[in-house]
Symmetry: C2
Subunit: 316 residues, 2 copies
């Protein structure tokens, strides 16, 4: 069902907001949770639609071992295909976990490389076999290498707002990693709420503290909707100056610590909120909704996003 | 699954927030959307659990014609039973639509009476057969009568953030009704997002403007999660000084303009967010979750709330 909505000036004036960058991560963080392997052609179709929608960055996949994550086995092929045709304004990104992945990313000409460490010792050791301190040193080295190859680099802190193993993660631990990133000259920093524990108040405090560190920090956020707070967290992040938002079409993906498909921040739900603020109105929300519908049909179940089920509010 | 989370002082200091009142409306706004009539005994069981959880106000039902809304037919009986045993600190409220309903409310000794008008002409005429201006005069008269009987009175503006029929609802129209309420000495004012169109930015502006009208205004809000924004809207409302939050256990209910069960703001999801801010920690979240689970089992389907599915984060 479609209803009509006229946005008046009263809703967009007075609200000082930086521009908002949408970083679509569904094809990586979403699909890696799905057992049903998506054929290359289907991925290309979805990514081409996402490109057409006008979102800024699309994470195409990750360079990991194919036997460990079969869903990501075709990441090289995807880049080979997509990098030849996509418009210059769309950036394609990839996640890498280690030096081998970085090597593959550099080989296939990826434009933006994302990597990170966990702020939780338990999470770090389980994921990488390394302490947080060692993992941070390693990631910084990798990031410097990627920057030396003139790549856009985003470094992240996972489990930044709480950990599925350890529970509370003190803000100081996150800040210590962020300080090391900044000292190494890395300015594009993402905080990921891996376990979905973040609250808007916490988001304001954490990013508020980070953005006080200095100028030219590009702050990014990645939330899960496990407790229904993804959009509240995004709103809180926007208000304190976070500019880049990682989200997933249809809300694909989920929290690795629960069986519940709370999903990632849903791209089209986020874009709806952002557009209702008078921002990013050039993004094709209907194209995103159509893509969300198609992913839901492909997996044969309802996905977490709201907007693709209820339909867009027409802004007239 | 339960995970453990320790809240540190860092998360609750610096955040100036008024106390938060939870007004549970699931037994009215939630159940009236359900075709399956809930037996009196079941309603009593749920309401007794909700009372035990420690939420502040529970809307027991509405005084409407039994042939029109069979789900609300036992509202008088419920009050007769509950008013004899409930603790003094819990307030039981009711919704009334007209003079006849008000009469019934006064007869059975209800403590708090809620009533309202729509800011949308189309919605007002469809619901009441009256213009917004006429409906406002009538509701103010009823509210004065209820106050004369020493009742707590809450007056609301429905479709305050957008209308399922008309789309955009200009802020001036909402403000005009609110001004009339205030001129009549009515200070407990709720804005209801009947169609689920509200965005956090709009919420901040609307309530910001209302709370500038003067002291001693008790502002209440009622959101639907149609577009995934209920908690973001609640957070925005809290930040500008709204103190009373209408919500529904398990997110029962929905937007009357869509077939999609986006639901009301979910009580336990809201209480989770509020408690993570260090507020209202005495409310028994587990009791709310158990009640949500029971309602889901009763109706034999998944309801919109997140927390009852994923489990509470233990605050240790």
């Amino acid at each position: 069902m479609k209803t009509s909505l006229r946005l008046s000036g009263e809703q967009s004036q007075e609200f000082i907001m930086h521009n908002i960058i949408i970083h679509e991560v569904g094809m990586r963080d979403g699909l890696q949770m799905e057992k049903q392997v998506v054929p290359l052609e289907k991925k290309i179709e979805w990514i081409e639609r996402l490109i057409e929608s006008g979102v800024d960055i699309i994470q195409v996949g990750s360079f990991v071992r194919a036997d460990k994550v079969p869903q990501m086995a075709d990441t090289d092929k995807l880049f080979n295909h997509l990098l030849q045709q996509k418009p210059a304004k769309t950036i394609l990104s990839v996640l890498v976990l280690n030096e081998k992945g970085l090597e593959r990313a550099l080989e296939c000409g990826v434009e933006m490389i994302c990597m990170g460490v966990s702020a939780s010792e338990t999470h770090s050791r389980k994921n990488t076999g390394m302490s947080v301190a060692d993992a941070t040193r390693r990631i910084i080295e990798m990031a410097k290498l990627a920057e030396a190859s003139e790549k856009r680099v985003q470094v992240s802190v996972q489990s930044a707002f709480g950990c599925g193993y350890e529970g509370h993660v003190p803000q100081e631990r996150v800040m210590r990693i962020v300080e090391q990133y900044l000292e190494a000259g890395l300015r594009n920093i993402s905080l990921a709420d891996t376990a979905g524990h973040a609250t808007p108040e916490q988001v304001e405090k954490m990013f508020g503290a980070i953005l006080e560190f200095g100028e030219n920090i590009e702050a990014a956020c990645h939330f899960h909707n496990t407790y229904g707070l993804a959009l509240a967290n995004c709103y809180a992040a926007m208000k304190v100056g976070v500019t880049s938002f990682e989200s997933s079409v249809a809300g694909l993906g989920g929290c690795p610590f629960t069986k519940i498909a709370g999903g990632n921040t849903c791209t089209e739900d986020l874009v709806h909120m952002v557009q209702r603020m008078g921002l990013r109105e050039e993004i094709d929300l209907h194209m995103l909704i159509a893509t969300a519908n198609d992913t839901s049909q492909f997996f044969g179940r309802e996905l977490p996003g709201m907007l693709y089920r209820v339909g867009a509010l027409e802004v007239v």
